[in-house]
């Protein structure tokens, strides 16, 4: 019973700490003034054409990164479809595979 109370106290402490740091982040004044943030806020829309600054980063300044991300998605889907191909092996193999999934 004592250890249970200790665990509850620890949980509350962790929650309070999390709330404190989240509140620090949400207040908006981060203290440090970064050059790139100022540049994106001032010129992001005019340089990339997107009103949404998040979009102006991931499809404007970092569009090549997004190309790589899309490539990863294409490869993941291709690999998934290859592994899930039905009827590529015999019936017995399919049975075993389904049993394996059932145990999971």
């Amino acid at each position: 019973m004592k250890s249970g109370r200790l665990t509850a106290a620890a949980e509350i402490l962790v929650l309070l700490l999390t709330a404190f740091f989240l509140y620090q982040g949400l207040r908006g004044d981060h203290g440090e003034e970064s050059e790139i943030r100022r540049h994106i806020i001032e010129n992001g829309s005019s340089e990339t054409g997107a009103l949404n600054l998040v979009t102006s980063i991931y499809l404007g300044y970092r569009a090549f990164d997004t190309l790589g991300e899309t490539m990863v998605l294409l490869l993941a889907v291709s690999g998934g479809l290859f592994l899930l191909k039905p009827g590529s092996s015999g019936n017995g193999h399919d049975e075993r595979g389904e049993d394996g999934y059932g145990q999971d």
């Binding site: 005019s46 340089e47 990339t48 054409g49 997107a50 009103l51 949404n52 998040v54 979009t55 102006s56 991931y58 499809l59 404007g60 569009a63 090549f64 997004t66 190309l67 899309t70 490539m71 998605l73 294409l74 993941a76 889907v77 998934g80 479809l81 899930l84 191909k85 039905p86 009827g87 049975e95 389904e98 049993d99 999934y101 059932g102």
Partner: protein, 149 residues
Amino acid sequence: MDRTDTGRAGMNRKTTILDLISRKLAPFMLLFGLYVLTYGHASPGGGFQGGVVIASGVILLFVAQGVEAAERLFPFATLSRVETMAFLAFIGAGLAGIAAGIGFLGNPMVLVEVSAAPRAGMVLLLNLVIGIEVGSGVSLICLRLFREE
């Protein structure tokens, strides 16, 4: 073995409510996905989010209407072809920036003095292409998982 059996039985016991709601809801989900795509440059959203919303509409059709019925609307071969073509279109659209002298994947529309909506040109196009690719990719995987053979 058991799971597929119950799944098939569940497919036969399709209720009127599920049938009707999925028929009415799926077009609006697809429409909302397209909205998230096309307004991704001006409001929260974008290619990946809109694509997943589109895929959820397709998956609703797969789950509620059965794979056979939904596959008449979204055939497997077409979905996989669309996904590959969307990726090629992404690379092809990037060449427009090179032609305009900005660089790969640059937005040529910022060089022209136009109003806000067409200025987003390239971003809008890339959002659409990414959304189509994500939507068809996620639908493809779910279609392959739902199909029982």
